[in-house]
């Protein structure tokens, strides 16, 4: 049974909105947690400004446990926790929780990798000027790595669009849900094409925004 496009468009618009909310909310929460974790991961490394072997190892192990789990399995695996925190496992809000957890750990690694590329001499210079560790984090580490950091976050948001579609297939709503129920289960290629095109446009847009901002920051 084919969908009636004259009445189906509002449904697409609504689903696109849901996807956007999932991605943007996850990006915000995931960035806040992920950047904090990434900074912690970096400054507690050996010989760094707040060297702490215990914190560093615990974080590393945690990230290495969560990251390799395929998202769709992770989503289902922590559904009990999701129910506990959000109250439900169905819908957009319920999808944001597991997405945020995964995004946080991915962002943490991306942030750490970008911070490692900062010349240690620059950090040493700030220390020699009498800057405290917290001061170094906010006035040296973040500004010096900001350009690549934004590109890293762009990369993560593109993955989030992918994650949101996965979440959609198991009750998360959004374009993934539409594509699954109408496009796949009801064999309506037109729905599939429309959702895929919207997803592509979203990815392009996200990449373009990221590139533009990072170029501004890096003055290149």
């Amino acid at each position: 049974m084919r969908v009636d496009w004259s009445t189906f468009w509002p449904r697409i618009v609504e689903a696109t909105g849901e996807t956007l909310i999932m991605v943007i909310a996850t990006l915000i929460f995931g960035s806040i947690i992920g950047i904090s974790l990434g900074l912690l991961l970096f400054v507690t490394r050996e010989n760094n400004i707040l060297e702490n072997k215990a914190v560093s190892q615990v974080l590393n192990i945690l990230i290495n446990i969560i990251r390799p789990i395929p998202f769709i399995i992770f989503l289902v695996a922590i559904s009990q926790l999701t129910r506990l925190v959000v109250g439900t496992t169905i819908g957009t809000t319920a999808a944001i929780f597991p997405m945020t957890i995964v995004a946080s750990f991915v962002v943490a690694r991306v942030v750490e990798n970008n911070l490692v590329s900062i010349d240690p001499g620059v950090i040493e210079a700030a220390q020699a000027m009498g800057a405290s560790p917290l001061r170094i984090i906010f006035t040296v580490l973040i500004p010096e790595a900001l350009g690549p950091l934004i590109l890293g976050l762009t990369f993560v948001s593109v993955s989030l669009i992918d994650f949101s579609a996965v979440a959609g297939t198991v009750g998360g709503g959004g374009l993934g849900h539409i594509a699954m129920t109408y496009g796949y289960q009801r064999f309506d290629a037109s729905v599939m094409i429309v959702t895929v095109v919207i997803l592509i446009v979203m990815v392009q847009l996200a990449q373009w925004i990221g590139n533009t901002i990072s170029r501004k920051v890096m003055r290149r």
């Binding site: 001499g121 620059v122 020699a128 500004p143």
Partner: protein, 341 residues
Amino acid sequence: MIEFKNVSKTFSLGKREVHAVKDVSLSIKKGDIYGIIGFSGAGKSTLLRLVNMLERPTSGSVFIQNVDVSSLSAKELRTQRRNIGMIFQNFNLFNSRTVAGNVAYPLKLAGVSKQEIHERVKELLAFVGLSDKAKDYPDQLSGGQKQRVGIARALASSPEVLICDEATSALDPDTTADILRLLKKVNKELGITILLITHEMHVIQSICDNVAVMEDGEVIESGAVFETFTNPQHPMTQRFIQSIQQDLPSEKLLDEWRSKGGTRLYRVIFKGEIASDPVLSQVTRKHGIDFNIVYGSVREVQERFFGNLLISFEGEPEKIQKVLQELEKIVDIKEVIKDES
């Protein structure tokens, strides 16, 4: 001003222990430009970082104006560090900040008001000759300009000590000379004590008052630059000095001279005012002897003359002996014998 008292620093690399600094005691006077020279791996960079506790000593203490910096709390140390400017071989500027932003950074740390920061930055950039580059970013500058920004930034918090970590090693000779002149100006006009490390003897020669030579973590020789230069004791010091002044021709040339039946060669070293008197010609004329300058140079070390000449004499042997005896009283004279290097 700065005093190292039996300072040692040991790093452990896995199971291996590296003794970077071994029982160093040095005293640097206020207003001095003090140079530490050594090949890479001699421990001079570690020694320099002990001054502002970027490295902590394994044993011994470092005093700055009688304050034991190794005993300060983290907070006290941060305040103390504002009194010690530091510049680096690779400049270590903040690429995300403009030239003015880099110079303003230590002032922001010290909690200086915006208006004051603005004025101080302007003043500092004028001092280092970069007033027109305030809004540029570090990647738009040449190496010499970057080091000038580094110097302005290090001076921003009005420190009493400036420590320089191979500050000219990444620069070409012309730019090196510029930066050295600027450092001299910092010392003369602002009265800032400078401690620098380098592997280049000409840096020591051109601006330092005192020098310490380091090898394998130890200070093997130290003293006033002129004395160390004109009368080096340790073979390593002699090597460094040879690196900028070849005081003897090569063995090959000397052999050639000897095989051609050349007369004995004497090495005359004269220092300071004596260089302005016609000593050689006076003494030889008195005894009716001719002299011939075979090789040598007269150069300036620490704003004093330092001459090193290779001379042969022609005339009766007894008279030459008399000339030699007389010259010995005024200058340092030695026969050059084979195998002396």
